[in-house]
Symmetry: C2
Subunit: 159 residues, 2 copies
């Protein structure tokens, strides 16, 4: 359940220049093309690499506001029905169930602060949701990243 240095270098390389082909990667990494292909196949098989989907920036679509909404739900109804409802709201990008005083944590986006109110209202209207609390993301000094983690692992993995 770990990756070695070559895997890490490959992932780093592809993260930085995603449009590289297998052949070019093999050249950059100084290994045979077959090796790169095999590594990528294995990484995908093991679930390390789950896809290569295009990364879309919500802000570029006009969704300039990002917020985190935590919610308390009526215990009897359970999490799943609520999650299903939330999944039906496009502006809800991500939902987690969590420990602590609240029950769920969502990432949502909206076109403006006023629009955020609309989205929150949609969430509040979900059956089973008792209370919500939201904070707006003002800035994102560290955007989502995975590279440091990937490059950290190899200390253990050999090669």
């Amino acid at each position: 359940m770990t990756i070695d240095r070559l895997d890490a270098r490959l992932i780093s390389l592809l993260t930085e220049e995603p449009k590289l082909g297998v052949l070019e990667c093999s050249r950059r990494l100084g290994v045979a093309r077959g090796t790169v292909q095999a590594r990528l196949d294995r990484l995908a098989e093991r679930g390390v690499i789950t896809g290569y989907g295009p990364d879309v920036a919500p802000a570029a679509l006009g969704y300039d506001v990002t917020a985190f909404v935590t919610l308390q739900i009526r215990q009897v109804s359970g999490h799943d029905p609520v999650a299903d409802q939330l999944a039906g709201i496009p502006e809800v990008l991500e939902v987690h169930t969590i420990t602590g005083g609240d029950d769920m944590h969502c990432r949502v986006v909206a076109r403006s602060n006023a629009d955020l109110q609309r989205v929150i209202d949609l969430i509040v209207d979900v059956r089973g949701v008792v209370r919500t609390s939201s904070v707006i993301a003002l800035d994102t000094p560290v955007p989502y990243r995975i590279l440091p983690l990937v490059n950290d692992v190899p200390r253990r993995g050999n090669s």
Copy 2:
């Protein structure tokens, strides 16, 4: 600052089958290859598509625990120095500054609950951090997604 139906279909297609080439996309969408290429170029130019990096699952790397840590910082020191320090911790995947009683919101991962303690200690040790509060993500009923948002926009965009 918006996308039309063709853009949305293209993004959907690529999200679902990222390994498709331009040519295959053009066939699936029933448009000329040049059109697909032009669209992708434009989407990238406009910042809608920011990349095609491989999506890495932290869990597959052994980081089974995801947590959200909110922190209060010493006001005088400012956010940036703190963010810079946080950026130095590989397990910190994402940092936002936020409204509300707390100042920052981070997504972190760890190898176990015990390991999470280590990561939190690293965060607490950051100069300027006054207090942290964390919740563990137990489950992720809605993993990060962007498609519903992309497919929602076209109602306005013509074509």
